[in-house]
């Protein structure tokens, strides 16, 4: 069966700093990223801030903020390349087949419109239904995502709701058209810990009920464990490792993945000092040649600084981009 979504060699660039009087060199903040998602599958895209995971997600929907743009690659939804669609065709996909929720529920809703109307809009943009019917559906969605007193909340303005409720409204809005794929960009980062757990449980339940694929973007490996079927790790605009969750946690291959896992407090040996990866993520445009993790890597050797790492593929679809793995050193 062909995958629901297939991303091939995606590259997204922003104009870099001007050097002298020359033209701005584009900086590829997403560089040659490929992965696919099956129907009903949850894929977590993990990485530090600035690793390009959010831009990857926005690229799928062709929502990269200007002046950034997708410069190469394919994003196939059911075999159709989204990058070649007209603006109108793309619009019919957004919100209908692929929906997205964002990190900041505080600002993601329009402050001057009632939350119910914002969900109603999401329905009426894609379907010719009466306002009354769209409203009834919105009410049902509010109840489904666990908003108490949905009738009253329909007419509330965003500032009258808590952060957790706003995120539930965002989820209701995203679910309105029964999308096949939900992109969740750090959906719990702005919420407090109890609220995080509730929202994650909600996403998991909805995903199971609706057989919806989720692309979960996060820097928190803790929440990945609850939801993800597979995990893709990004570093400095590139994919470094992609593996089924259990396999990745049990046997991380890329030195960066191992560093990330060692830095999770829950997995660390009690009483020992928590591991940290030395150094910081280089900022976009200042990436080293060859493997971009080289300067922070404890296992670097000659080819790392010179050549981009080759792909190592395992039979179960696991992929690693590392010279050490490719040469069988690990």
């Amino acid at each position: 069966m062909s995958p629901l979504l297939e991303i091939r060699n995606l590259r997204t660039a922003f104009p870099g700093a001007r050097s002298g009087f020359g033209p701005r060199e584009p900086v590829h903040v997403v560089d040659d990223v490929s992965f696919s998602l099956d129907r009903g599958e949850v894929l977590a895209l993990v990485g530090e801030s600035g690793s390009g995971k959010s831009v990857t997600a926005l690229s799928l929907l062709r929502l990269v903020p200007k002046p950034g743009r997708v410069t190469a690659g394919e994003v196939r939804l059911d075999g159709r390349d989204l990058m070649t669609l007209s603006v109108g065709e793309m619009r019919r996909i957004r919100g209908k087949r692929i929906a997205m929720i964002f990190q900041e529920p505080m600002t993601a809703l329009n402050p001057v419109l009632r939350v119910g109307d914002q969900v109603v809009e999401a329905i009426q943009l894609h379907e010719l239904v009466s306002r009354a019917e769209a409203r009834a559906r919105t009410r049902a969605l509010f109840a489904e995502v666990g908003i108490p007193d949905p009738d009253e909340r329909l007419d509330a303005y965003p500032h009258q709701l808590s952060g957790g409720l706003k995120q539930r409204v965002m989820i209701a809005m995203a679910l309105a058209m029964r999308p096949e794929l939900l992109i969740a960009d750090e959906p719990t980062t702005a919420l407090d810990v109890t609220m995080q757990a509730q929202i994650l449980r909600l996403l998991r339940d909805l995903q199971r009920e609706r057989r919806m694929a989720i692309l979960l973007i996060t820097h928190d490996l803790g929440i990945v464990n609850e939801l993800a079927d597979r995990i893709a790790v990004m570093y400095a605009g590139r994919l470094v490792e992609l593996a089924p969750r259990a396999e990745l946690f049990a046997n991380p291959l890329h030195p960066y993945t191992r560093g990330l896992l060692a830095a999770i407090p829950a997995l660390a040996e009690p009483g020992t000092r928590l591991h940290e990866i030395p150094g910081v993520v280089p900022s976009a445009g200042r990436w080293p040649k060859g493997c971009r993790f080289t300067p922070r890597c404890s296992e670097r050797f000659e080819p790392c600084e010179a050549q981009d790492p080759a792909e190592t593929t395992r039979p179960n679809g696991r992929r690693v981009y590392c010279h050490a793995v490719a040469e069988g050193r690990r």
Binding site: R91, L109, N110, V112, L113, A122, M173, A174
Partner: protein, 320 residues
């Protein structure tokens, strides 16, 4: 809400009473009635004539209540201003209230359509420019705005009068007729010039407001749910950008009464635009006092109206 309005009106009334007191100090205590009479009559008039003039204008009474509680200028000043009984002009003894009543019509006939037309032109234009932000259309628009702003209003007036009035003979060069059939012909040129000279600054201001709002997160949300760019501009961005725009517009509304000095004087419109300047030049203290009071009144009401109008466009605003 009701309590809030009452409280604001109460404060506004207090401010106005304070303004009236300041006016009294400046116009009666600092410049005493003898000075006013000499300004009106000349320096070398006999004291008897000055006394007579003061008596005619009611300036012959003591200033303060503690000098004569029943009959003093301070109480008289408050009574007159608060009942809109402004008395006679110090320069030509004409009744001030009548002058204001007669001038208000022509001034409003010019300024109200000017405001409506100005908004009707500059808001769609700025939406358009903001829609094409960071493209050549946007840059060209901003360039034209700066150009339009940089040209003096006088040049627009003279240019329009010469080209449209004299060469093309489409509309009269200047003049005014309250007849509703003739009025539009006389107002055409001043309106054109008024819109043209204001458009640059307005479009730039509104464009900034629109662009600011169109970078907000909720715009990305609207895109993600499949809204078109045009819909995003008109439904999501416009409503939010109205908040800063409204401040500017509502605050300007009361001053529609006071007319436009430049346009009225160049196009021969008998409005209120020149009243204040004329009064200053003619040492017409009573008219000047009246105009300062009226401006304060308009300003105080404009402020209250602006604050109340926030509640109409921004649900986050609550009146307490």
């Amino acid at each position: 809400m009701g309590a809030y309005v009452l409280r604001r009106l109460g404060w506004g009334a207090l401010v106005l009473l304070g303004v009236l007191f300041l006016l009294f100090v400046l116009f009666f205590a600092v410049t005493d009635p003898d000075d006013i009479a000499r300004k009106a009559l000349g320096e070398k008039v006999p004291p008897a004539v000055i006394e007579q003039w003061k008596a005619n204008h009611g300036y012959d009474r003591p200033l303060w209540p503690w000098q004569d509680f029943e009959n003093n200028l301070l109480f008289d000043h408050y009574r007159r201003m608060l009942t809109f009984d402004f008395g006679l002009s110090d320069a030509d003894d004409s009744p001030i209230t009548e002058r204001i009543r007669d001038g208000m019509g022509p001034s409003l006939a010019l300024t109200v359509p000017l405001l409506v037309l100005g908004l009707g032109v500059s808001i769609p234009l700025s939406l358009l420019v903001a829609f094409f932000r960071e493209t050549y259309i946007d840059r060209m628009g901003v360039f034209l705005c700066v150009l339009a702003m940089s040209v003096s209003t006088l040049l627009y007036i003279i240019g329009a009068q010469f080209l449209i009035g004299k060469v093309l003979r489409w509309f009269p060069i200047s003049g005014f007729d309250p007849d509703p059939l003739l009025l539009p012909r006389f107002l055409a040129l001043p309106l054109l010039v008024g819109v043209l000279s204001g458009i640059g600054a307005d479009v730039r201001f509104y464009r900034t407001a629109f662009i600011e709002e169109s970078t907000r997160d909720f715009v990305r949300t609207a895109r993600a749910k499949g809204a078109s760019e045009a819909r995003i501009m008109t439904r999501h961005v416009l409503r939010n950008a109205l908040i800063p725009i409204l401040t500017q517009v509502v605050l300007a509304i009361p001053f529609l009464f006071s007319g436009s000095l430049l346009l009225e004087s160049f196009f021969g419109i008998p409005g209120l635009g020149g009243v204040t300047v004329d009064a200053i030049q003619a040492n017409d203290f009573s008219t000047l006092r009246t105009m300062v009071f009226i401006y304060s009144l308009l300003f105080v009401f404009g402020q209250i109206a602006t604050d109340l109008s926030y509640g109409l466009v921004d649900p986050r605003v609550r009146f307490e």
